[in-house]
């Protein structure tokens, strides 16, 4: 649909702007000149009118198609997605409540028993070793 519109538009542009085109070559002056011109080339007028009306129809059709595409709502798909998201949230909630029921935990450290300010560092050095650069090509869409 869009391709048809584009072709017609391109044809219109070509008709109007290609040098030597009969429809444009004569109509450079004032209104009377244009009117005389179009009277001379009146054979083209019906064709032009037809094309322009087709163009209008096509653009109206495109708008209504876009509207109908927007309006096309799939209830089954939406329901499935809504169900999956809700189920994941429900699982997170239930597991977090369940984990709150277990408060007995092994301690891996003794940080509560460190003597305050007892840390005494006698060696504190950072040495640079090497550098590595990785490059990945960017995708150009």
């Amino acid at each position: 649909m869009k391709r048809k519109l584009f072709v017609i538009f391109a044809a219109l542009l070509a008709v109007f702007f290609i040098p030597g085109s009969d429809l444009t070559s004569g109509c450079t002056g004032d209104f009377e000149a244009c009117a005389a011109y179009s009277a001379e080339y009146s054979d083209y007028a019906p064709a032009y009118n037809e094309i322009s009306s087709v163009t209008v129809n096509l653009s109206e059709q495109t708008k209504s198609t876009e509207k109908s595409e927007k309006k096309k709502f799939s209830p089954v798909r939406s329901l499935i997605i809504a169900f999956v998201i809700s189920a994941i949230i429900a699982l997170i909630v239930v597991f977090s409540i369940k984990s709150g029921l277990k408060t007995v935990r092994k301690k891996y450290e003794a940080s509560s028993y460190v003597i305050k300010d007892s840390l005494d560092l006698r060696e504190n050095s950072d040495t640079f070793l090497y550098k590595k650069v990785d490059k990945t090509e960017r995708s150009h869409s």
């Binding site: 949230i89 409540i97 369940k98 709150g100 940080s111 028993y113 060696e123 990785d134």
Partner: protein, 360 residues
Amino acid sequence: MSELLEYKCPACSGKLEFNSGTQSMKCPFCESEFDIEAVQEFNHAVETPDENNMNWDTSAGGEWASGEAENMSVYHCQSCGAQIVTDNTTAASSCPYCDSPIVMTGSLSGDLKPDYVIPFKLDKEAAKSALDKYIKSKKLVPAVFKQKNHIDEIKGVYVPMWLFDAKADARIIFKAKKERSWNDDDYNYVETSYYSAVRAGTLGFENVPVDGSTKMDPEIMESIEPYDFKDAVDFKTAYLSGYLADRYDVSAEDSVSRANERIENSTKAIFEDTVKGYDSVSTESANISLDDGKGKYALYPVWILNTSWDGNKYTFAMNGQTGKFVGNLPIDTGAAIRLFSAITAIGTAVIFGISYLMSR
């Protein structure tokens, strides 16, 4: 005979070779290049470290004074084997660990006398109230469990603990990374810089507790930590009046490995915190030794309730000094399923409704 010197690659541990073109050390395996001084420092730092040296003086506890032990009675549980000690004025009828009847077997003799005791600060009413509040605050606990947990049977027990003091002397090497990224029209770039961070020094620990009773789950005792040793007093039998005390059956020597593990992990974590300004830090090697390591024997106060439900045993414990309460609770599977279904149903309706309205 001359000694052959080898330098290891910090990236892949391959043997480095001197590259005369760049006047630096190059790894033929991963093709990384390093400054000579940096390689010498790195290899010196990671030279095979000594084994961890963790020695303890475990001569904790004292001897009973004349007449002291005669005031104490020992009860034996024939069901779980627990040996409960209390003073002669306190009647003990059931085991605090398995709730079975206990029988008096004799007086306390031959045991070590505790060095310290932290007396109970919270009474039985406080413990019952804490237990009640704890269970009621939890969701998805079976209603029957909430009702039938015989809260009155909560008991105050002094649990034997080995307390360890030590000065950790550590030398730890960390591998640290910094990342920088940028891009141009054609490529994305990530530059990673690698560093070796050496930290060596000492860190002091005091009163690191280890459970001295096999009857008391060590995870429960660790969960109700910490205890504040400032409230500890020299042991006197009078503190046991009205309470039970568990007899230790794990020696100080057998407890040191647990203390070593906790001290080692804490030392590594604290030293790692001093390595700042990097995007990631990992431990390359650690050598930790303990100086002035010694143990003490103390009794720590705990309110305990053992209960069973649906064929499983549940233990609740409250720190008798700070009131911290722990205990694993059962889950009502039916209630969990109902909650899951309700959230799913409501969520589905809401999300579906929103997507329908947005489509109009």
